[in-house]
Subunit: 128 residues, 2 copies
């Protein structure tokens, strides 16, 4: 059950924690292979799965065809940029309040939970 300590695993975690971009498996593959040119894409996929099951990283449940991963395991919200499609963290007291309200409201209406994904413009794309 305990994951053994391999170089590939360490580098995957390190690179994922370095970036704030919520990379897909193949994006992370590009990063990892700069340090481990022999690494295989299957190793990235397998370890992202294992590490998220193990709670060391987060697998994000977002729309879109590719899965994305987050080195930050703290629960937090994400915004998708409507222009470039990137995923950015939302650190906002108000959103947390909205979350708590929603939780109460949806449970009061007989649901077990919800998934909320914010949409907006990232800083690079501006707000026009």
């Amino acid at each position: 059950m305990k994951l053994s300590n391999t170089l590939q695993r360490r580098v995957i975690i390190e690179e994922l924690r370095k970036v704030k971009s919520h990379p897909t498996a193949d994006e992370l593959y590009q990063l990892v292979r700069q340090r481990l040119p022999q690494v295989s894409l299957g190793t990235i996929y397998r370890n992202l799965e294992l590490l998220s099951e193990d709670g060391q990283i987060q697998k994000l449940e977002l729309t879109g065809k590719q899965k994305r991963f987050d080195g930050n395991i703290k629960e937090h919200y994400h915004m998708r940029c409507s222009n470039c499609g990137c995923i950015v963290d939302v650190e906002d007291k108000e959103i947390d309040a909205i979350h708590d309200n929603l939780q109460v409201l949806v449970e009061r209406n007989g649901f077990d939970g919800f998934r909320l994904e914010l949409i907006g413009r990232c800083s690079r794309c501006g707000n026009t």
Copy 2:
């Protein structure tokens, strides 16, 4: 620009409007081929895309690897059953109120919009 009137297109729309299951392309393919055994899966995909662009049907933006389609073009909420994974319509005045509140709140916080997906148990799976 205007879509021409083909038998395949008519049957696709008819079958999609008949069901309440929010089928994937291949699920709809199974339905359509009962009436048109020669229809090809590519035709289903192409037409679902064209018809949703044309506003005659709805393409649902949900989590999960397969796209789902809805013959009902009115905007409405969906719940995913946490047990069987099916998608059911949510017709609930309260949810509409929640939606309106959320819209105000997220815009007030600088976002353009949001996507909210409800999670619960469908009627067949019960509520335990």
